[in-house]
């Protein structure tokens, strides 16, 4: 009965699990509403060009593509932050908006520990920037994971500005910078060093970039990183994170916070602070977000933006494992 099977990377959610999923969704729905976010539902099908012809493009290999009646190429919703940025920039006509959603996003190339259909609950804040806004979104991420039922988790914070600053000093080409970024994200010091030599980065920047894979842990990481560079952008990024941390400590949630300057997400997409939520027993992040001030401008209206999405099925898995099923 091959016709009754599902393609790879997708799944049905049956009543028992669906009830748990609904409970998590209800808790988050209340959180989102109480915090002043307004729900939207974006179109499930969009033009390929919307996501492929912007500067922060989604890779071709990641999108489910179909041909429309008129021959145009359309895709299954690949990314919700970009969809929200498009809506905020082209349809809301406001300088400030707080949007939230429950939706599926689709990743054609996902395999291994990642699904191709991902149920996300997310929030996006448009029109706010600075230390306050960033501290607020992290604090809200902590509240949301707590509301979903998680107890032991970490919000791991980085900043793409630190790596951008080091790049300014290094004299690296765009191609070299992108290759090295991938090595740093994998904490692969061996290849980072080989690539730095190959692309001929200057010496001081080399030492700092080579330190990136080990710059993770508590807030002392930010002080260590300060000693590595005189670059203005890099130092401003560290000062920003220190400011964010002070506010989170004041709010009494320092125990949930760690830093990783070696988490360098896509530079074309993210513009500042980036963060992931990590819970034991899942093996992959349960939450992912960051600041992307440049995205709205690509749709015609320049708005600062920050947001995150919770991976609902992974949260359920973390809750299940905690009950002692696996480890």
């Amino acid at each position: 009965m091959a016709y009754f099977k599902l393609p790879a990377g997708v799944r049905d959610v049956l009543p028992d699990e669906c009830e748990r999923l609904d409970r998590a969704e209800e808790a988050l729905r209340k959180k989102f509403k109480d915090a002043g976010f307004r729900f939207i539902r974006s179109a499930g099908l969009e033009y390929y060009d919307t996501y492929a012809c912007i500067e922060s493009k989604i890779e071709q290999s990641k999108m489910f593509k179909m041909t429309d009646k008129d021959g145009g190429l359309i895709v299954l919703r690949p990314d919700m932050s970009l969809a929200c940025a498009r809506i905020a920039a082209t349809k809301l006509h406001e300088d400030h908006a707080k949007l939230c959603y429950f939706t599926q996003v689709y990743d054609f190339s996902a395999s291994g520990n990642s699904d191709r259909e991902v149920a996300q609950a997310g929030v996006e804040v448009f029109g706010e920037k600075g230390v306050d806004a960033d501290a607020k979104i992290i604090a809200f991420a902590v509240e949301c994971l707590q509301a979903a039922g998680l107890k032991k988790f970490i919000i791991d914070i980085g900043h793409v500005g630190f790596y951008k600053g080091l790049l300014e000093e290094s004299g690296l080409s765009g191609e070299g910078a992108e290759e090295i970024r991938a090595y740093i994200n994998a904490k692969d010091a061996v290849n980072t060093e080989i690539a730095l030599k190959k692309y001929g980065a200057n010496e001081k920047a080399q030492a700092a970039i080579l330190a990136l894979p080990s710059l993770f842990g508590g807030p002392q990481v930010l002080e260590e990183a300060e000693k590595l560079t005189d670059n203005d952008l890099a130092r401003a990024s560290l000062a920003h994170l220190q400011g964010v941390y002070r506010q989170l400590a004041k709010a009494g949630i320092a125990e949930y916070i760690s830093f990783d300057l070696g988490t360098v997400k896509s530079l074309a997409y993210y513009s500042g602070m980036v963060f992931t939520g990590l819970a034991e027993g899942v093996g992959a992040s349960v939450l992912s977000g960051g600041r992307y001030d440049g995205l709205c401008a690509q749709f015609g209206k320049d708005l600062p933006a920050v947001g995150f999405a919770v991976g609902l099925m992974r949260v359920l898995r973390a809750l299940e494992n905690k009950e002692g099923k696996l480890c």
Partner: protein, 209 residues
């Protein structure tokens, strides 16, 4: 407790030596056993024995927090994980090899490449803009050029003995390979207090040897 994925065989034995020198009670790894899961007497470590190519999978899924595996396997798996340390043993090279006269064929026309590292070979030739036909084999790769199945092979070369015995030679060294310590992206942060001191000790040990 830390869960560790190890490749069965020689790699596991080399790992046992390093672990013991780093103060882990890994003597159990040296005993003859058919068990697939072994726990240290102090209950601090649990070892899983898996096929080499499955080590990245166990670590990516977080079932194992850390693992030890060859760089060749990592390149081929392309798993989403942290590569923490070059352990410096099990050194070899991923090479293009073939008959001496195959060198003239490299980079021109239609090249047939036999390998068990299909993904790595695809990426390599794609990055060079060369169209090649990749032929997947599971063992005795050297037989392919001898029988005319392929023009060259893409495989790991340790001593080069098998190549020489069959009249083949290394045409190009592409990647340096050695054993790597890998970690799950979540475990490294959520179990930092257990993993980081271990990595520190292993780094010190590897630096000395």
């Amino acid at each position: 407790m830390l869960n560790v994925a190890l490749a069965k065989g020689r790699l596991a034995e080399s790992c046992a030596d390093i672990f013991i020198k780093c103060g882990i009670r890994a003597e159990i790894l040296k005993e003859e056993t058919r068990k697939l899961v072994l726990e240290t007497p102090d209950g601090k470590f649990k070892f899983f024995f898996v096929k080499p190519s499955d080590v990245p999978t166990y670590v990516e899924y977080g079932i194992a927090d850390i693992g030890v595996v060859g760089k060749d396997t990592l390149l081929e798996a392309g798993a989403d994980l942290y590569e923490m340390l070059d352990l410096g043993f099990e050194k070899c090279k991923l090479c293009v090899a073939g008959f001496p006269d195959a060198k003239e064929k490299l980079g021109e026309g239609h090249l047939r490449v036999a390998t068990k590292y299909v993904n790595t070979a695809k990426k390599l030739y794609f990055s060079r803009g060369e169209d090649v036909e990749i032929i997947k084999l599971n063992g005795s790769i050297e037989l392919a050029p001898l029988t005319g199945l392929s023009d060259v092979i893409f495989d790991i070369v340790q001593s080069g003995g098998t190549l020489r015995a069959n009249g083949l030679e290394v045409l190009e060294e592409v990647f340096d390979i050695s054993a790597r310590l890998i970690a799950n992206k979540v475990s490294l942060k959520t179990k930092a207090a257990e993993i980081l001191p271990l990595i520190g000790q292993m780094r010190e040990y590897v630096g000395k040897s």
